[in-house]
């Protein structure tokens, strides 16, 4: 029978090193955060992060992975039962578009130009717009 991992006392751990830049733990400050565009339109939520590829068998100690994209996709089932959705099921927002990290993620581009909002745009233009009164705000 395998032993449970040992719990180390705080005095057994080295003092955390100091690094330049803003230090962020992904689970605490990125995953599941809402993503907004500059007009405060909600774009998506962060379901996962796409990282640069590394050789898992021999990771280069001097080339840690970097965040490439925010991912949004059907992750509920895989979080509960394990595994991961296929790549094709993820929608991506380039990390380069991230302007601010607070309690939400703010982008520097509008949702209109992102692929991730195509379904909403299509529905608005092809369905809602054909309903009488569907092209303007309620009066």
């Amino acid at each position: 029978m395998s032993r449970r991992p040992r719990i180390r006392r705080p005095d057994e751990l080295a003092a955390p090193p100091r690094f330049a830049g803003r230090i962020v733990d992904a689970e605490l400050e990125l995953l599941d955060r809402q993503v907004f565009d500059p007009d405060s339109v909600q774009v998506t939520t962060v379901d996962d992060l796409e990282l640069t590829d590394v050789d898992a068998a021999h990771p280069d100690p001097d080339a840690p992975p970097e965040i490439l994209c925010l991912l949004s996709g059907p992750v509920f089932g895989t979080r509960v039962f394990g595994g991961r959705p296929p790549e094709s099921r993820f929608e991506r927002v380039d990390w380069a578009h991230v302007a601010r990290l607070t309690t939400a993620v703010a982008l520097d581009v509008t949702a209109e130009v992102l692929d991730i909002s195509w379904l909403e745009r299509w529905f608005r233009d092809r369905v809602i717009a054909r309903i009488p009164g569907g092209r303007h705000d309620p009066e």
């Binding site: 719990i7 751990l13 992904a26 689970e27 605490l28 590829d53 992750v75 990290l101």
Partner: protein, 114 residues
């Protein structure tokens, strides 16, 4: 690679001791003044010997309220530690192996602005 490929892996020391599970990844975000978030580079991973997931991070911050929840979640996350990326020897197949001499750091987060 996606972050979920790392989260949940069982971490092992070079001598085979099971250390816990990867519950989070720490990044350093930096860039020029006009785009301070340009690069988000992984510093390392957080391993927890007891919990399988990261929740609220009470064990990594000085937040201590609401007191009852803080004590419970801090207890669940006790013994967590940070392993730097350079100390990761390999990962895959549900396991992550650390290099010989890997240093286990306190996972505490320094308070930051913004």
């Amino acid at each position: 690679m996606i972050l979920s490929d790392l989260l949940g892996l069982r971490a092992y020391a070079a001598d085979g001791e099971e250390l816990g599970r990867v519950v989070d990844a720490r990044f350093a975000i930096a860039g020029p003044e006009d785009h301070p978030l340009r690069t988000a580079r992984m510093l390392g991973i957080i391993v927890s010997p007891r919990s399988h997931t990261s929740f609220m991070g009470y064990e990594r911050t000085d937040v201590n309220s609401p007191a009852l929840l803080a004590r419970w979640f801090e207890h669940r996350g006790r013994g967590s530690f940070l392993v730097l990326w350079k100390d990761i020897a390999s990962f895959g197949g549900g396991r992550m192996l650390l290099r010989p001499g890997a240093v286990l750091y306190s996972p505490k987060l320094e308070p930051q602005d913004g």
